[in-house]
Symmetry: C2
Subunit: 383 residues, 2 copies
Amino acid sequence: MIQDRALRPNTKVLPEHIRLNNRTLVLQTLYRTGLQSRADLARETGLTRVTVSDLISELMGENLVIELGQRQESRPGKPATLLDINRAAFQIISLDLSGHTRLRGAVLSLDGAVLSSSGLDLAGARGEAAFDKVAELLAQVIARATAPILGVGIGSPGIVDRAGVVRNAPNLGWRDQPLQARLQDTTGLPVRVVNDANAAVLAEHSFGGADHDLLLVKVGHGVGAGLLIGGRAIFGERFAAGEIGHVVVGTDDGPLCACGKSGCLEAWLSVPRLTAAIHDATAAAATPADAERAIFDILSEAGRRLGIILAPVVGALNLLEIVLSGPPELLDGALSAATVETLRSRTMATETGDLTLRMTAQGEDIVLRGAAVMVLSAQLGVS
Amino acid sequence: MIQDRALRPNTKVLPEHIRLNNRTLVLQTLYRTGLQSRADLARETGLTRVTVSDLISELMGENLVIELGQRQESRPGKPATLLDINRAAFQIISLDLSGHTRLRGAVLSLDGAVLSSSGLDLAGARGEAAFDKVAELLAQVIARATAPILGVGIGSPGIVDRAGVVRNAPNLGWRDQPLQARLQDTTGLPVRVVNDANAAVLAEHSFGGADHDLLLVKVGHGVGAGLLIGGRAIFGERFAAGEIGHVVVGTDDGPLCACGKSGCLEAWLSVPRLTAAIHDATAAAATPADAERAIFDILSEAGRRLGIILAPVVGALNLLEIVLSGPPELLDGALSAATVETLRSRTMATETGDLTLRMTAQGEDIVLRGAAVMVLSAQLGVS
DNA sequence: TTTCGTTCGTAAGGTTTACTAACAAACATG
DNA sequence: CATGTTTGTTAGTAAACCTTACGAACGAAA
């Protein structure tokens, strides 16, 4: 009876919080569907036209919503005044720090479209030097914005806590780096820092359409995952959810990993390992056909290993949708085919609903767009 | 800024919803700590004394809260009137349908203590006959209640959806059995039906103390798991979360399972399999020492297999706490030792915080108590 | 013993919120 | 041209919390 309202009451609620909730609800509805009248919004949200009008006038006062003239449809009754989020009024800045050698940055529209992008070579910088590079790139990207900036979203590799402190990022040489707070200070803008794979899964969720629970596996220099259940990202007790790169696969040793263990997923699946293996196999092959077969075997085995790791996760969480992000020439073929086949043969997937595995449609901008989702969610409550 | 309130605004909120939230907040606080004054509650919840007084008088009107005289402490100021949940005013009925041959039922106090318990042999009943057995047991248990009944909680094996429909429970011969609705009709009481492992993890969470994310593995005739993340149970897209019994372990075949695959977790770990293997080994052993060693090996290997399945889940979710439920003579020893050792050696557990694995402290009543938690949560918003 | 400060619970009045009811404006249709 | 429909606004109401103020009951100190 009570739990139906799904509010887990851990905090008190005041009348003014109602306002915030309903305001966000209206903004959310408008963000998703766009071009609706006040009456439409009232019907869709369940609020009355009066309340919607009031909220809309507040939102228009903040330049978040604009009127776009009357609906042209020919109907009885007074014509509706169409509204939309003022999509040109603000822009979002995103950084992707997950590249092994190169940082990326972009200006995005409120819709998550990349308006202009920049890059900066890390050039081996670590620790404070790496921070300086990030700050430099951020300043560059900010300078390219052509509208007021709603906020800054950053996808960082490593373990990032809820306050945007990068607890541990080996590649950048960071330990307990309070990236969010520092950049917020230097820029004066709202900043959100999240793990790159978590950003990616948010992008896939918001822009990829389906409203399923989602596991995204990001294959790059390392292997990480982002997990979204019931519309919420899972961060983990120590903010290390998705760190599956150093979980051992299978019961037959496997290649030695940099971490000291044998048979880690990363030792099978990371881009450097795969390219090296393919390179070696190609060099050793007598004929092009031999090379092709060898490459197929390497990718299939990597895919199988990924499937073996994912099977218990898929079973335990009853996941129906898995998305891969990374170089398509490696992932999108024998590898993903082997993964999905392994998954199906090792779980009860057929019993509990069909399992889907696919490449992301977001391409290389996935982390940038996901970081933008964080900003939208934090600043507007919208996604 | 906005997302800080953590209300995902998918529905409108009205002023009266505030009341419900704060009422539940007060009740929750009182349920957890017990014996507090109105002023104490005001301090703890952040609400004013006025509002708390108002809510309390409402709750006292429903006989949910009672006054227990004045606090005996010697302090300046007017002495406080102590309040508590009226723990004797209501009782909860729970059923545990997960036994392979025997159904269990109990009357519980609002604190989750078992007041009286009953049982009924399934005697091989399936389908409608099994339903009749359940209804019969429920009527028996209801008759033993000595106070108004708050509700009925039922832990059922198999896949149970949010509406309490048992989608699939092979042992009971049920498919799409609307257990919750049917029993609600026959008894006129509020009924909640959940999967047995999910009930178990709720019990462990509510009565076990720690507020960690939690994975509970329930080993019985089959093997299932319940998962709790951020205080919420995970049900899965098709309500089959936790169904890890038929996930294949490792890359070396393993024993044939009833489901047709080889090396399913259940084929290694279920109670019938383990007892049979131990029986055979004991019969074949030349000396008692040999038998003991053989048993140790069997249990260790089973534990290792469990660890292999759990490692990816622990890594992906960054879990710190795993609880085992089942026969202690099988689980609590070589088996759990092997599991935790396997987990630590196959994940980065040491890097991301210490991993705990332990037996449940709830014993055999775990499902009954978990089902009671469902009722408390549904009827009072409390847990 | 009296006075003072403290704490508890309640009463009265104010603010915020969304609701209902009613209305004018603008349009299509018969 | 009258009628019905739809839109958005105005006015008034109900519910929820808050702030302010107060009496009651107690310990400590004069």
